[in-house]
């Protein structure tokens, strides 16, 4: 695997389309999952309504502003459960069973194949819920400027890239320690902290949530951009974190693949 991936866009598109078709064949369960998506959105937002029924604002965040963070958190969740988890989960499985060999044989960049061959389409309900919450909150807060919206979108992408890098790093440990499925549960438990505005946490946690487990970058930062609360250093920090996470995780994946001896040989 070379450092700079050659982007075979048509290959990526074919992978995603095949994955979608595979997953959509269970039509009944796909529609039943709608209920789950809606309920989990309610579950994430309801505590906020209960808190804000009693206090007008928390650490400088009003209900509508905090709902923005919740909406972005739902988008992050949709990304993780829709794309990251199915793919990277299959790496862990592939290392254990040896099925990874077949993926690595394909003449496309290994990271692309490993990251985009599966889609869990039920995540679309969570995606939809996230969009509804963000748009709903914005309708009450007033439309943001075009510049702020563009910055928020950029930060969302950077945040998703950072968290993707972190997931990839965790999954790469499976090349050394075969059984790490449970580390994924631990990671998603920790990233649950991203559902509230990052300022509700203490100083130590706040730093951890923006650097070590950068889930605040994907939920709080885009919301702060829309509310025009970010200074340049925070923005640069977010993009730098994304860059570092992507480079480091690709490096570790390269190292892991070069040491991968395949289960069959």
């Amino acid at each position: 695997m070379r450092w700079w991936p050659r982007m075979h866009m048509e290959a990526v598109w074919a992978l995603v389309r095949a994955a979608l078709l595979t997953a959509m064949q269970y039509r009944a369960s796909f529609i039943a999952e709608f209920l789950v998506g809606a309920l989990s959105a309610v579950g994430v937002a309801a505590p906020l309504f209960l808190v804000y029924a009693r206090v007008p604002e928390i650490q400088g965040w009003t209900l509508d502003q905090a709902l923005l963070v919740t909406g972005f958190f739902l988008l992050y969740n949709a990304f993780v459960s829709g794309i990251v988890e199915p793919n990277l989960g299959s790496i862990v499985e592939g290392v254990r069973t040896g099925a990874l060999d077949y993926l690595l044989l394909r003449p496309v960049d290994a990271q692309l194949v490993l990251s985009f061959s599966r889609v869990a389409p039920t995540a679309i309900w969570e995606l939809l819920a996230g969009v509804v919450v963000v748009v709903g909150a914005l309708m009450r807060l007033g439309a943001p400027t075009v510049a702020d919206s563009a910055l928020a979108a950029g930060l969302l992408v950077a945040g998703l890239a950072s968290t993707y890098g972190l997931w990839l790093l965790v999954v790469c440990t499976s090349f050394w320690f075969v059984r790490v499925d449970n580390l994924r549960f631990l990671l998603s438990a920790v990233t649950d902290a991203g559902r509230w505005p990052v300022s509700v946490y203490g100083r130590g946690l706040r730093i951890a949530l923006t650097t070590v487990v950068p889930v605040a970058l994907v939920s709080s930062y885009p919301a702060m951009a829309l509310l025009h609360r970010l200074d340049t250093s925070l923005v640069l920090g977010a993009f730098a974190t994304a860059g570092v996470m992507l480079v480091v995780s690709r490096g570790v994946l390269r190292l892991a693949l070069s040491r991968y001896a395949s289960a069959s040989s």
Partner: protein
């Protein structure tokens, strides 16, 4: 299984009394085997336990909300106590049978388990029970760290309240396991019942007091939500220990649910297992 000595054959007879005494004799061995199985995967167990940090995430929100003064009668200390007990009770009442049943029914792995002279559900219950000392062991350092960090969180309940709390946690343990078993058994009818379980979990997190003490619900909803089975599986023991509810009526509600849902689970098992046989697995 009828190859033992004559008196053993009598012991393995099919009457309900014989079945119970059989179970009682096998019980210690089952617990030992289950515990050994858990110890083999101890690293995974620790990770599972550490994953249950959601009460702490909730605590941060309520703690931040209460910086300016108590919220609905809870100050920061009360919130910390509530979510600390929440973490402990959730940990002690944890089970995994819904995953196991889903897997076993879909993959046909239930078949060999049915050949054992012990009902697979009972076996899993023993496994879950034998995980308790382990979970308690992992909780100790967590609670110790909390006591060291904020000693004012610790408090000593009266003996009556403490024993009521133990009875309440026991009811929650049985209930939480029974509900999971019920959802797991849905896999007899649907190929995959995890979706139903996720939906239940989402409603449960709100109405059980996992995210929010039920006291903080709108006044008209508090009494009603305390009668629902959700509350009996988690919030009841917490509120009982913190002296928020009357122990006698809370325990009555909880054990009432235990009886009702266990009966439903037994019925579901009997109907479902016939269906499983019909599939030809």
């Amino acid at each position: 299984m009828n190859t033992g000595a004559p008196e053993e054959r009598v012991w393995l007879g099919s009457g309900p009394g014989a079945r119970v005494s059989h179970l009682l004799r096998a019980w210690p061995a089952v617990l030992r085997v289950a515990f050994a199985g858990l110890v083999a995967y101890r690293a995974e167990m620790v990770i599972w336990v550490l994953s249950a940090t959601l009460p702490l995430v909730m605590l941060s929100l309520w703690n931040a909300a209460a910086t300016g003064g108590p919220v609905g009668g809870y100050d920061q200390l009360a919130f910390t106590r509530y979510f600390a007990v929440n973490l402990v009770v959730r940990q002690l009442t944890g089970s995994w049978i819904v995953w196991e049943l889903n897997w076993a029914i879909r993959k046909g792995e239930l078949s060999p388990k049915l050949l054992r002279p012990m009902n697979p559900l009972v076996y899993n219950f023993a496994e879950t029970l034998s995980a308790l000392p382990f979970r308690a062991g992992v909780l100790l350092p967590l609670v110790g760290a909390l006591a060291w960090w904020r000693p004012e969180v610790l408090f000593l309940p009266s003996p009556t309240v403490f024993f009521a709390f133990v009875a309440s946690v026991l009811a929650s343990f049985i209930l939480a396991w029974t509900v999971q078993a019920l959802f797991g058994m849905l896999a007899f009818w649907f190929e995959q019942s995890m979706g139903f379980w996720s939906a239940w979990f989402a409603i449960w997190s709100l109405l059980a007091g996992y995210f929010v003490p039920l006291d903080l619900f709108p006044a008209w909803a508090v009494a009603g939500t305390r009668l629902l089975p959700f509350y009996s599986t988690l919030g009841a023991p917490i509120d009982l220990l913190l002296g928020k509810v009357d122990p006698a009526s809370t325990l009555a509600t909880q054990w009432g649910w235990v009886v009702a849902l266990s009966a439903l689970a037994a019925l579901t098992w009997r109907t479902g297992i016939r269906r499983y046989g019909a599939v030809g697995a």
